[in-house]
Structure formats: structure tokens, C-alpha cells
């Protein structure tokens, strides 16, 4: 099966009219399996929810999977939003900026790059493409010092750019976008537009992009999640708590709770974590039909 077929089918699948073939024999055993795995996935998150209703000492003295008291929930909420002059809100905004910029930027870069790889035949195309993909294998722990030095040299340490710029590189996004262009934008269409005298940039922006919107959403969404949960990069390039994203901020609170022990706020941190994953859940739920198609077409070629 080629990527082209895969993608066309991906489009079919997102159409609401698709009729599923009737299937029988959805057995009790299958349902039990689903339920079992559901419990496995959700049980730890259930702990998160019950823990929000406890103060720190109850964390060590009450049953882990049941609630304690609504007033502790209110206290935790207040602490979360007022501690260190309400810096949690700042972290939330920072995360939105970092993840948002990474999502939009890497989506655009990947769309343009993927377009070039898909629609043009140039010298060294395939080896360049493979080389870019292979870099996924370099562990990011090793890049910490070089990236720090680089940012230092161009004077970007402790700026928003230090986190945003490296987040623009998304080799897997490039790969996905190439597949989308392969499948979603027929070369004949391009040639016809050229004959009509359309400029290259018009062909790309106005004709092409709308046809690969599923891919754009997919790449943007995965870049967003990647940047949202990124910990290592901000840890290295940002030394100011007003520039921390949520992950780094919560982890600093966590470490301070561990190392000073005077005023541990684990239950507040857990509440903060839950708030920090809410945007991701909402994004995935609301954009589900786009990215599923996107993932599938990525998977088709393998």
C-alpha cells in the first residue's frame, strides 16, 4: 500500500458519513479487556484527583485512592495561585507562549520543507531527507551543553527565544508533512496552476496548504504537546523563574519541597499538574478527527 492510498483513505475516514461494516461478536471478554486497561490507565490519575483534596500531612496518613475534604482543595487552589506572588499564572502563560510558538513555527517550517521534498526533484534530496530523520536518534541529554553555549554566544540565554527557536525543529513533522504533500496535493494540479501562470508562492500558500490541513493540525498538535511537556531544554537555557514553563516551575517547587522539607506542598503541585494537562486533553479531544487521520497516514508508509 502506498502512502497515497493511505492518505486518501485517511480522508475518507474522517468523513462523517463513513459506514462501518456491521460486525458481530463483540464479546464480553473484549469488553472486560477494555475496562481492565481503562482502570490501569486511569487509576494513577484517580490518585491525582483524590490527592488534590488533601493537605500535605494527609498524603501520608489517608488512603491514597479516596477523597479527603473540599476545604483542602480550596486551600490548595489558593496556594497554587498565590504562592511566590502568583507565579503559577506566569508559568501557565509562558507554557502557552512556548508551546504555541513551537506549534505554529514548526508546522510552517515542516510544511514548507515537506513541500520541497515532496514536489521537487533536486540533487541529494533523498540522502538529505534520511539524514534529517536519522537525527531523531541522538539523545537530547547530550545536546544540553552545546545548546547552552550556542545560546550564550548569540545572547539569547534567559529569553523566550532560547526555548522557542530550538522547538522549531521537528524532523518527524517534516516527515509527516512530506507524506501529506505526496498524497494530498496531486502534481497534476500543480502543473495546471503553473500553466495558468500562478506563482510558486501562490501555488503553495493558496492552493496547496488548504489541501493538507489535516497534516498541519497533526504536526502543530504534536509540536505543541512536545513543547508543553519539554523539560530539558528550558532547564538548560532559562535561569529566571519568570521565564519558566509549567513543567520546570512545578519541578522547582517539587525540589524545594524535597530539599527544604519545611513547607512541603506536594498536594499543591499535584493540583498544578492536573491544571497543566487540561489544555492538552481539550486540544486532543476537540481536534481528534484531524490528528487521527494524520497519524494514520504517517503510519501507513512506515
Amino acid at each position: 500500500m502506498t502512502a497515497t492510498q493511505g492518505f486518501q483513505e485517511a480522508k475518507i475516514s474522517t468523513a462523517p458519513t463513513r459506514q462501518k461494516p456491521r460486525r458481530e461478536g463483540f464479546s464480553l471478554l473484549q469488553f472486560a479487556l477494555l475496562l481492565l486497561f481503562c482502570v490501569y490507565s486511569l487509576l494513577p490519575l484517580w490518585w491525582v484527583i483524590t490527592t488534590m483534596t488533601k493537605d500535605n500531612s494527609q498524603l501520608y496518613s489517608t488512603f491514597g485512592l479516596w477523597f479527603s475534604s473540599p476545604s483542602h482543595f480550596v486551600d490548595n487552589l489558593r496556594t497554587l495561585f498565590t504562592r511566590d506572588d502568583g507565579i503559577f499564572v506566569r508559568w501557565l502563560i509562558n507554557s502557552i507562549i512556548y508551546a504555541g510558538a513551537s506549534a505554529v513555527g514548526s508546522m510552517l517550517f515542516a510544511a514548507m520543507g515537506g513541500y520541497a521534498f515532496s514536489k521537487f526533484n533536486f540533487r541529494g534530496r533523498d540522502s538529505l531527507f534520511n539524514a534529517i530523520l536519522a537525527t531523531i536518534m541522538v539523545p537530547s541529554t547530550a545536546l544540553a551543553l552545546p545548546i547552552f553555549l550556542l545560546m550564550q554566544n548569540i545572547g539569547l540565554i534567559n529569553t523566550y527565544w532560547a526555548v522557542i527557536l530550538p522547538g522549531l525543529v521537528n524532523p518527524f513533522g517534516l516527515y509527516l508533512m512530506r507524506l501529506f504533500w505526496d498524497a494530498g496535493f496531486p502534481t497534476e494540479l500543480m502543473d495546471a496552476a503553473r500553466v495558468d501562470g500562478a506563482s510558486e508562492s501562490k501555488i503553495f500558500w493558496q492552493l496547496g496548504l488548504p489541501l493538507v490541513s489535516g497534516g498541519l493540525v497533526t504536526v502543530a498538535l504534536f509540536s505543541f504537546v512536545g513543547a508543553w511537556n519539554n523539560f530539558f531544554l528550558p532547564l538548560v537555557v532559562v535561569n529566571k523563574d519568570t521565564l519558566f514553563p509549567l513543567t520546570l516551575g512545578l519541578s522547582v517547587w517539587n525540589q524545594t519541597s524535597v530539599s527544604s522539607g519545611q513547607d512541603p506542598i506536594y498536594t499543591v503541585i499535584v493540583l498544578g499538574a492536573l491544571i497543566s494537562i487540561l489544555p492538552l486533553i481539550i486540544a486532543f479531544l476537540s481536534l481528534g478527527r484531524y490528528w487521527q487521520g494524520g497519524l494514520a497516514s504517517g503510519a501507513v508508509k512506515g
Partner: protein
């Protein structure tokens, strides 16, 4: 204006960012890996050119090699298990007709992936407590999840918890792309459910499985935060995974040269493993 420059025009933004934030750091890491620390008496160590010394050391470093063995164990046990579960769930979910139930399960399975590493650590650290763990309290056991015999499996469990749903979604999405008429054809031919699964769906899943497999290999090689967040709670060996070992060489020991060499070796190892994996998958076809 269609000329040879056009593709490069479109490639420029990506390539610029890629060169600046990937190629340059990797190049610098390569350069760093050629330097070793030298001292005489007291005072700070000097970095002197050591050629391939760091690489020779890496291949003779039994602690590092042992961490690679742990990874192989993961690849033999955890990855197949995770993909098996993900495939099974995707196949079941594909036959769920109720739209709400389907969305519910999909979301439930997917949720763990959104939990940041720090929190996953707090969370599992609590669930792994010997006395306080609800798991032990409910089952009445006294499992010490962090004892050295079980530790690797406990880490495997966190990885499985985080990633199974993610992989399941990928596989499920691939199943959604199977044109309905294939099923119809099979059914007209009188194929049973099992036969449809075995001879129609599974082969169609192969590319998606290959992709998730490759990502699992790469991800496994870079396991870091799961063992790291468990360190304060018990004895977690420095070399439980290559990435923790590398991190400690850099962050704890300040040996940037050796850390860089380890990273290069790890990347090569990943490359070989992925290649091996691809070959086997393709070979079966």
C-alpha cells in the same frame, strides 16, 4: 520562476533552524568527545585532546555496557508486550460501535501520555511505596516495587503506562483507514471475525506497527525521566539506562567529553537496532 532554486527557497527556514539547533550542537558534541580531562596535583582539570580515548573507554566501560544490556531486555520484553497490548486494544476498539464508548476509551487510554515526567514520578513514587501504596493495601501484599530485582520491571511499567495508549491510537487510526469494502468483500467470502482480523486487519497494520516499533526502539534507548524520578525513593543504579549514565557523567561528574562520546555511541547503537528491527519486519513480509 520555476527554477532549481525553488525547492531551496522552501527548505531554507527548516534547514536554517535545523543547522543552528541540531547540526551545530551535534558537531560540537563530536568535537567535545575528542577531549579528556587531565590533572596534575591540585587545581582544576585541563581539557586536552585525547583522540578516540573516550570511545575506547566507552567500549571498555562495563557499567555502560551493562546499561545497554538493560535496554536490550526492554526491547525483548517491554516493547513487544506494549505493542501487543496496543494492537489488541486497537482491534477491539475498532469493533466498538457505540460512538460515546469509543471516544471515552480512546481518551482514557491516551491520557497518561499527557502527564509530564515530574508528575509521573510523584505519582508512581507514591503508588510504589511499600506500605502506603494503594496497590499493596488493596491486594494485601507487601511488594517492594523498588527493590533491585523488580526495579527494571517497575520502570517498564511506567513506560508502558505512558506509551501504550499513544501507540494504540496510532494503530487504531491506521485501522480506521482501511476501506470498508475490503471488509465487505471478506465477509461476502464468508470469512469469520477472527479470519478478518488475522488475514485482513493485521497485515494492514504492519506499516503502522513498523512505525510504532521504530519509535519504541528510539524511545527505549532514551529512557531517562522514569528511573531518574525514582532515585530519591530507593537505590536506582547509575547505569540503569544509558541515558541516566550519560546524564550523570555530564551533570554529576562534569565530564563533558566522555558524556559526548557516550551520546555518539548511543546514537549509533540506536541506528543499528532500528536497522535490525526494520530488516526483520520487512524480512517477514
Amino acid at each position: 520562476m520555476r527554477n532549481r532554486a525553488t525547492p531551496w527557497f522552501f527548505l531554507t527556514p527548516f534547514l536554517l533552524a535545523f543547522t543552528a539547533f541540531f547540526i551545530t550542537p551535534v558537531g560540537y558534541a563530536l568535537y567535545l568527545s575528542l577531549f579528556i580531562k587531565k590533572r596534575s596535583g591540585f587545581g582544576p582539570a585541563k581539557n586536552v585532546f585525547g583522540g578516540l580515548t573516550n570511545y575506547v573507554r566507552a567500549f571498555q566501560d562495563s557499567d555502560f555496557l551493562h546499561s545497554l544490556l538493560n535496554i536490550l531486555l526492554f526491547l525483548v520484553i517491554q516493547v513487544p508486550l506494549m505493542l501487543l497490548v496496543a494492537t489488541t486494544l486497537a482491534l477491539i476498539l475498532d469493533s466498538v460501535k457505540n460512538g460515546f464508548a469509543q471516544r471515552f476509551f480512546r481518551t482514557a487510554f491516551y491520557l497518561p501520555y499527557t502527564v509530564p515526567g515530574v508528575i509521573a514520578g510523584l505519582l508512581w513514587g507514591y503508588l510504589y511505596s511499600k506500605n502506603l501504596s494503594p496497590l499493596n493495601q488493596i491486594t494485601g501484599l507487601k511488594t517492594d516495587f523498588l527493590s533491585s530485582g523488580i526495579l527494571l520491571f517497575s520502570i517498564g511499567n511506567i513506560v508502558t503506562w505512558t506509551w501504550t495508549g499513544y501507540n494504540m491510537i496510532t494503530l487504531y487510526a491506521a485501522l480506521q483507514n482501511v476501506p470498508p469494502d475490503i471488509y465487505e468483500a471478506a465477509r461476502i467470502d464468508g470469512a469469520s471475525n477472527w479470519n478478518v482480523t488475522r488475514y485482513v486487519k493485521l497485515p494492514l497494520l504492519r506499516p503502522a506497527l513498523t512505525l510504532t516499533g521504530i519509535f519504541s526502539v528510539i524511545g527505549t534507548m532514551q529512557i531517562f525521566s522514569e528511573p531518574f524520578v525514582l532515585r530519591p525513593l530507593g537505590y536506582v543504579p547509575d547505569n540503569i539506562t544509558p541515558n541516566t549514565y550519560l546524564y550523570l557523567a555530564v551533570a554529576r561528574d562534569g565530564n563533558f567529553g566522555y558524556g559526548a562520546a557516550l551520546a555518539i555511541v548511543m546514537a549509533l547503537f540506536t541506528f543499528i537496532l532500528s536497522g535490525f528491527f526494520l530488516r526483520n519486519v520487512r524480512g517477514e513480509a
